[in-house]
């Protein structure tokens, strides 16, 4: 173990953890705020290769390796870089496997193990970066490019992703398994790494990439539709603003009406009750039972309550009517006094052919007699003919009245 390398690695990681605050802020903002951190700290971070200054008067930035580490571990979707350079990785793998084979051939086992370790590292890195790229693409699809606001930007992002996918697919085609198989020969370790390992990830990645491509195409279709709709709406507003008189031709007037405008109106109305259906009876009864009777006085009836002037002339007319009857009764009384005959009220009514109801006449005669002074009453003899009520005692039914002088 290289003690020196180990030591400096540990001190680098310690520095990272000590200044994690500065580094994370630089990662999120993009550059380091040099006033916030001490100059010593910045100096040491620059020496360790964590920060760098791209131009003399530019701000301090994170080195891309540190950024990549953070993006990879945090699965941050802001990372939209996809490393599609597979040719150089493949060339390195081929070269290393040749080193390994040569070392084995010369029986330099220790050296060969070193080469094998390197080779493993490269193959794993290649498969990891492939899987990572696919994951990145998927995460972008899953939130529908949510990191950009406008649909136009989404369309551009989608186009970028599509070009990256096709680039990745082109690069993957560079892996020729027949060549790799030949290179591995009958060496078990090499065969496992170059053929089995790579082939597995190859099939997995191509399958996923084709899914990604399909989803991307579907998404761009949707985005384009969104854009089309928005433009349609905005265009309509613009058009009607510029031509306020605009109204579309009446398409329903032509001989063939587009099916879009043949929408028929509703024609169903609620059905009526059939009271003769026996099976509906309980339901209807229930409904009737729940009808509420409202006792409120309708607004229109209120005029009955309003004060109204009383027509006195009408009352006078009734009095005239009344006085005719009274005069007739007076005449009847006078007749009895003049002649001294006894005559019943009904007989007088018939004889004089008076146009009064018999019952009213009798009442008026009785009333007339009652209204006389007690002194005057003494001159007359009044006798009612009638009978007791057959059912109710104490009631007397008067049929006629006979009037005479005492």
């Amino acid at each position: 173990m290289n003690q020196n390398l180990y030591q400096s690695g540990v001190s680098l990681l310690n520095a990272l953890s000590r200044h994690s605050d500065v580094i994370m802020r630089a990662y999120l903002v993009g550059s380091v705020d040099e006033k916030a951190a001490g100059p010593k700290v910045l100096e040491s971070l620059q020496q360790l290769g964590v920060l760098w200054r791209p131009e003399p008067d530019a701000e301090l930035r994170l080195k891309s390796v540190v950024r990549n580490l953070l993006e990879g571990s945090l699965q941050d979707e802001r990372n939209r870089q996809i490393d599609t350079n597979m040719g150089s990785a493949l060339a390195a793998i081929k070269t290393l496997s040749q080193h390994y084979k040569e070392a084995l051939h010369h029986n330099r086992f220790v050296e060969s193990q070193g080469h094998l370790g390197d080779l493993r590292q490269h193959v794993y890195a290649l498969t990891e970066s492939l899987a990572n790229n696919v994951r990145l693409l998927f995460s972008r699809i899953n939130n529908e490019f949510g990191y950009v606001a406008s649909v136009d930007a989404k369309i551009r992002e989608n186009e970028l992703a599509q070009s990256q996918v096709s680039e990745l697919l082109n690069q993957i085609e560079l892996i020729r398994f027949d060549e790799l198989g030949e290179l591995a020969g009958n060496n078990r370790e090499l065969r496992h790494l170059l053929v089995v390992m790579l082939q597995q990830s190859f099939t997995k990645v191509t399958k996923e990439l084709s899914a990604v491509q399909a989803r991307l195409i579907e998404l761009i279709g949707r985005f384009r539709e969104f854009r089309g709709r928005t433009r349609l709406l905005k265009g309509f507003v613009l058009h009607t603003d510029q031509n306020p008189q605009f109204s579309p031709r009446d398409y329903t007037a032509g001989s063939s009406i587009p099916s879009l405008f043949t929408c028929a109106p509703g024609l169903l109305e609620p059905a009526s009750v059939d009271v003769n259906r026996v099976e509906h009876e309980p339901l209807l009864q229930d409904l009737v039972a729940h009808i509420r009777k409202v006792n409120r006085v309708a607004v229109n009836d209120k005029h009955d309550r309003a004060a109204s002037s009383i027509d006195i002339s009408q009352v006078a007319a009734i009095e005239i009517d009344d006085s005719q009857l009274r005069k007739a009764v007076e005449a009847y009384f006078c007749y009895v006094i003049d002649t001294g005959e006894r005559i019943t009220a009904l007989q007088y009514l018939q004889w004089q052919q008076l146009d009064f109801d018999a019952e009213v006449w009798l009442y008026q005669v009785i009333g007339g007699y009652q209204s006389l002074d007690p002194v005057d009453q003494q001159f007359f003899a009044i006798e009612a003919t009638g009978e007791a009520h057959p059912q109710f005692s104490g009631n007397y039914l008067i049929h006629d009245i006979e009037l005479g002088l005492q």
Binding site: F226, L232, T262
Partner: protein
């Protein structure tokens, strides 16, 4: 008991637009070819036919043969559609802008009234737009408050079938297929009158970006 077919027929004959949002069961029923064929003769009896919008996701009853009385009704209906276009387009754009994700309202888009209201109240330009569009005869709001205007506009759209309210307790609306029908009408007018609306909009935005 009414069968599924009877239920769907009733909906169609009462002039409803059937889409996945308004009534998923009926929509699924109509998506089936055999069911559609079974329902056609019943409609034909009443001079109706089953129509869909171009993408086949919204169903409605249309006239089968068109004579004078039908033509008269269609003319009146068309007048109504064309006079309602501008208010509806203004409303669609307002909601799209206020929601801030640049995605146009289409079938299935949820609209949260409370969120929309707070965005509109916080942005004077939106408040003004709402004020203007709530005055259209279609919405007929007399309120001076954003709250009242917004509620009236949404109530009218709900009554007209452009929005569905899945839970009557909650102020969340979902756009129905009738909105897609509206887009189709717009597209149709655009094509037949050769207005080239999209090109106009595109030109306007590119000019805007130059300025």
């Amino acid at each position: 008991m009414m069968t599924e077919q009877g239920r769907v027929l009733t909906q169609l004959l009462s002039g409803q637009f059937i889409c996945q949002i308004t009534d998923e069961a009926s929509w699924r029923f109509l998506k089936n070819n055999a069911n559609r064929n079974a329902i056609e003769p019943h409609l034909a009896l009443l001079n109706r036919a089953l129509s869909t919008t171009a993408e086949g996701d919204v169903f409605f009853a249309s006239y089968d043969s068109i004579n004078d009385s039908e033509r008269k009704h269609l003319g009146a209906q068309f007048q109504e559609i064309s006079s309602n276009l501008r208010p509806l387009v203004d409303w669609l754009l307002l909601v799209q802008q206020a929601q801030g994700n640049d995605i146009p309202i289409g079938m299935g888009s949820p609209i949260r009234l409370t969120e929309l209201q707070s965005t509109i109240e916080d942005t004077p330009a939106f408040t003004e737009q709402l004020e203007k569009l709530s005055r259209y005869r279609l919405f007929g709001s007399a309120s001076t408050q954003t709250d009242g205007q917004l509620k009236q506009v949404f109530k009218r759209l709900h009554d007209l079938g452009y929005l569905a309210k899945p839970n009557p307790e909650k102020p969340i609306y979902i756009a129905t297929g009738k909105i897609d029908y509206l887009y189709e009408v717009l597209r149709f007018i655009d094509e037949t009158e050769s207005l080239s609306l999209t090109e106009q909009a595109e030109a306007a935005t590119s000019q805007g970006s130059l300025l």
